[in-house]
Assembly symmetry: C2
Homo-oligomer: 503 residues x 2
């Protein structure tokens, strides 16, 4: 009798996508909710992944001329008041420090004491505190550009949180640059969104579209916000990184003024750009399947896990064989770095151990027992393919780098195909409604995707978007020069935008 | 006429040590005070140094079996109430979050709104929040040990701050481990203080003594605190790292309970250990001189800076020569890593440029002009020696790694000599008073050092120590088995302690 199809993760993506997402995180040991509302604990497997992302991004930032620095966690409340749009954007989600000590209360517990003269905000983003510092550093055009990045934690008091995607505290990097001209600042804004797109595509194996946000979706205080948008497997969009051209808004609010070459006093032009631990959520939702997490090799903490299979009398021989195999694999390289190989010799049932690594997304599993040794082979499981296969041991060693490269590429291709399959051009409201409406309203199936539509202005379609819970993701920067007519109003429209439901 | 002796830093160490320290930080571009009380901005040169420290320490933590993870910034106030000594130790310096948004106030400004039901503390250290998580992770002896480290920012509301040494917010790592037995936990506590000592000696070139804190100086809630203590150039002690054996205090407060192999339910044994950006302060005060910062090569962001010297007609030839030199130097290695070489080709007076790098502590400066080229030589300045010397270019390339090794060693030796010169054994109170009393009370000269004294108990010498502003630094772990009599009370005493004025 055939076994019923079973998956390691329950529910499946098709059954309940949001719950599937939580269960993948749990099964892969990536993170868990903490006792503090909206804050998560990032567990070692998830944190190693984040460290790998950081390392790759940091190298890219340094290659584009940036240096790291560190600015205070706290922002005086008065700093936020200076940029009107900025404060409006963040005031509703600020953690506010009002006291600087605790004292015993009459019930035997504690209460806050030592009230601060001015409340401090836990940084939701650091334009204001960094800008105040830059104002001191910048005197002359010779001090420009300033090209600095900060790796930090930030806090935005979100009411509805979801691990990695939206948490009260999250980890991120924020670049903050100052330039003498608008041209240079715009170039920097574009350079960094391209760095993010490069990272998403070539490290995360995640296809993205670069585009500009419309006015309603811009960063509070920005003149222009560029973003990269990716499609998750439930066909929703996820904004994976943003780069903001801030014009002179923040330099005026914070008095970042320099003497130009000709001697005049000018306000500087600033940018900011960031990606966060949200990328881990994007990675999970891009590649994982109903058996758990799937890691692209370039970011995987472990490339290859070797699982010895033995009885008491064969243990010594098997362990000798796999130690030699591990050492030979570690001498090989993938993408310029040594192969990361681990042996899992824990005392645990073989099936359970195999599924442990499947659920954690390790790209390659090698099961090795006495029978494999006899044939000088290994039993190889690729996380991107359902079936394990026998493979000659020496062939494996000589091709391991190429194999990891194939997995990296196959993950990208699969994600790219999904995106192509669910990206449509829509020219009228009826089609738009149909595209974004589930056929089964009681238990909505996965539906929709990216709708490419010409549109005239945001105000005229606001009600429609609200009704369908659709947002304008971006106005793509490339292949977007053919004018048309607005899908909703019929008015002439210069460009298309991507419309989608979104995280 | 001979030039008056001049130093790049004013005042000198002898003139005003605390002010000299601030001026070195400023001249080396390491950090500055921020607009937020007690918080500093770590500038790129200082942050690169911290990153190098992090990288070396992180490798050591991983080599001793630890993994990184990340826990929340906030701690619910009730968590702090659980461990009585712990809360007493930290309650007076907690930043307390009481509100989660801002709203317009009647004056047109902002005010805190959305009061939290339970205030949140910005972590001063994470035993309580991490312990609450571990309580969920630990069920059986099979779940132990847990060996986790976190890189994070913490906040302790200090009233008197000094950059790097004592700031309201600082960066650090905190290891938190859980063990099945007291023996294993004590071994871990000792292992990690030895890691810190290894890092201090071999990376920072800073001699340290390992010892145990006396009861009055222990971490709040710890059974035993081990520390490494270093001597600064003003002969004060600086505690550079601590490792705590917490016994079952925190596991009882937080219910970290496991089922043992024999089936009984037991409280686990925990440890914690940490070093912080304070190490940057320690590094500055150990090696810097009256001309500025001095970097040990193993932690220097730049090993070698090349300063081209040319007029318009020689520029091209000089630049070609030094680019080739840079590339050859970069192909050499020091301590297993490539030599870090930079060219400073900024348009700036030669003397000013040279002093820029002297003050920033770059270990080796190479000045190269047409005359050096003719002789196939370079003009070499070692930061640890006053005079620059000519050197054959090819000899430099072939010996650069060894040269950096010599500088690293010479810095250690110099610091070790200072410590030896100012460490004395004292056996009576009169000598103790004399040692810790400046000869010139109106403008105290640098005096004192480490006094090694047998002592009976803390209570009996408390008043004397307060009067002299001296503290018991530690009871050294090594060469401390000869009993004696207390220097102050004459009572029998088993061990010596190090007494010193301290940061
Ligand atoms: Zn504005
Ligand atoms: Zn206690």
């Amino acid at each position: 009798m055939a076994k019923a199809p079973k998956t390691a993760i329950s529910p499946t993506r098709a059954d309940d996508y949001p719950e599937w997402y939580q269960q993948v995180i749990k099964a892969a040991d990536l993170a868990e909710n903490s006792p503090v509302r909206g804050c998560m604990v990032i567990k070692p497997w998830g944190y190693q992944l984040w460290e790998n992302m950081q390392r790759a991004l940091d190298d890219m930032f340094k290659a584009t001329g940036h240096q790291n620095a560190y600015f205070p966690l706290f922002i005086p409340m008065s700093f936020l008041e200076k940029e009107a749009e900025h404060v409006e954007g963040f005031a509703k989600e600020c953690a506010v420090v009002t006291h600087h000590r605790l004292e015993p209360d009459p019930d035997g517990g504690l209460r806050p004491a030592g009230q601060l003269e001015e409340p401090l905000i836990v940084r939701p983003t650091s334009e204001t505190i960094i800008g105040a510092t830059y104002a001191k550093w910048v005197q002359s055009y010779r001090d420009l550009p300033i090209l600095i990045n900060q790796w930090a934690n930030v806090v935005r008091w979100e009411m509805r949180t979801r691990m990695f995607l939206r948490t009260a505290e999250f980890l991120w990097q924020e670049g903050h640059t100052v330039h003498a001209t608008d041209t240079e600042a715009i170039e920097e804004t574009e350079r960094m969104i391209n760095v993010y797109a490069d990272f998403a595509r070539n490290w995360m194996a995640m296809p993205v579209t670069i585009g500009a946000k419309t006015a309603g979706e811009r960063f509070p205080g920005a003149i222009e916000t560029l973003s990269i948008e990716a499609m998750m497997q439930d066909r929703k969009a996820l904004q994976a990184g943003t780069s903001h051209f801030l014009g002179q808004n923040f330099s005026k609010a914070q008095d970042i003024v320099f003497q130009s070459e000709s001697g005049s006093r000018e306000y500087a032009w600033t940018t900011s750009w960031g990606v966060s631990t949200r990328l881990v959520g994007a990675l999970i939702m891009t590649h994982s399947d109903d058996d758990g997490f799937v890691l692209p090799p370039k970011l995987a903490p472990t490339h290859v896990v070797i699982l010895p299979i033995y009885k008491d009398d064969s243990r010594a021989a098997v362990m000798e064989y796999i130690h030699a195999l591990r050492d030979e694999l570690r001498d090989q390289s993938y993408d310029g770095a040594p192969i990361r190989v681990e042996i899992d010799d824990r005392d645990m049932r073989g099936g359970e151990k195999k599924w442990h690594h499947v659920k954690r997304g390790v790209p390659i599993r090698l099961e090795v027992g006495p029978k494999d040794m006899e044939k000088n082979s290994v039993f190889l499981g690729r996380r991107d393919q359902p079936k394990s296969v026998g493979m000659d041991r020496n062939e494996l060693v000589s091709t391991i780098g190429a194999l990891l490269g194939q997995i990296q590429q196959s993950l990208y291709d699969r994600a790219d195909q999904l995106r192509k399959d669910h990206t449509v051009t829509i020219t009228n409201e009826a089609d738009f409604r149909a595209f974004f409406t589930a056929k089964n309203p009681d238990n909505p199936e996965i539906h929709g995707g990216f709708a490419l539509c010409h549109f005239a202005d945001e105000a005229s379609i606001d009600a429609l978007l609200k009704e369908l819970k659709v947002t304008i993701r971006c106005v793509p920067s490339e292949n977007n020069d053919t004018p048309g007519t607005c899908f909703a109003t019929g008015k002439p429209a210069a460009k298309q935008a991507i419309f989608a439901k979104a995280y």
